[in-house]
């Protein structure tokens, strides 16, 4: 469990978190990125860029 950096709501971590994994805050729906695993740190994920896609 971590705190959303945007709204401070509690966000559940997946069982096996990965570095750079994208999470979504259930409260404010901000996209979060796992920035470090030990200790677990999350930040706001980068905004979608113009050339993003498949």
């Amino acid at each position: 469990m971590i705190a959303c950096p945007e709204c401070e709501a509690k966000v559940d971590l997946p069982d096996a978190p990965r570095l750079n994994e994208i999470l979504e805050c259930g409260d404010c729906h901000a996209e979060l990125e796992i920035l470090s695993l030990e200790p677990t740190l999350v930040g706001l994920a980068p905004e979608v860029e113009e050339d993003w896609g498949e």
């Binding site: 994208i22 796992i34 113009e50 993003w52 498949e54």
Partner: protein, 289 residues
Amino acid sequence: MTSPGTLAVVASRIRADEKRIFDALDRRGVSYVHVDSRTMWSSADIAPLPWDRALNREIGHVRAAYAAHSLEAVGTLVVNSARATEVCGDKWRTSMALRSAGLPAPRTALALTPTAALTAIEEIGYPAVLKPLVGSWGRLVTFVPDRQVAETVLEYIAALPSPQSHVVYVQEFVDKPGRDIRALVIGGEVLGAVYRRSEEWRTNVARGAVTERCEVTDDMAKLVYGAARATEADIAGVDLVEDEDGRLLILEVNDTVEFSGFQHAMGDRVDVAGRIVDHVLTGVPTWRE
């Protein structure tokens, strides 16, 4: 089989698809390194990077293309190749590749200025669709029903700062039956296809379209195989539409395929992440000489 420690997975954004790929690698006991493309840099002079193979899952087209070129320059086998990434990541280059291969697609034009685009739209006819050359998920794809809207949208396009934004990709609007088709090709093998249904005219999963399994006909298999081959994509997500006469037309080929919707619809019939991993470890290159 690739030796342990010689595979890189290049990705800046770890989504469900990338986690499935990592899980598939873990299940196979393959040693690999996840490379965050945001930390990558290359010197023109340095020794080869320590990876024999790389799976390119970078979400940004510019970074993906430069990463692929940089890795290939030092001898890494990259999937998809830099060429496939360049061709698939640019809708016009995809259109040219499909045309060269004689594959059916909607009528398409490229205008080098917004002014020329108005002429191109009038030639294609209304309604038409304008698409950014680069990008996915239906983002900024614009339905143009008449000249008044065309002039307005092109005025906005002309005001955009990037010169590339002024190059306008114009396509005829295909009045599809509320769905399009996403087929997956890996290593020249057609894994299957799914319908993507939506109330909206843009039927991207990212826009909420739902998927269901689609029977792959012989004609469809030939087209999607041909599209992967034409774009030299080892891993290809080929999007098709059915026109009013039921004829299949190829819309685009995706080189960094998102497959959650496909996997959901296909269930246990295919393990997409596993197939991607197996291909990267043993199967490439498919189209390269």
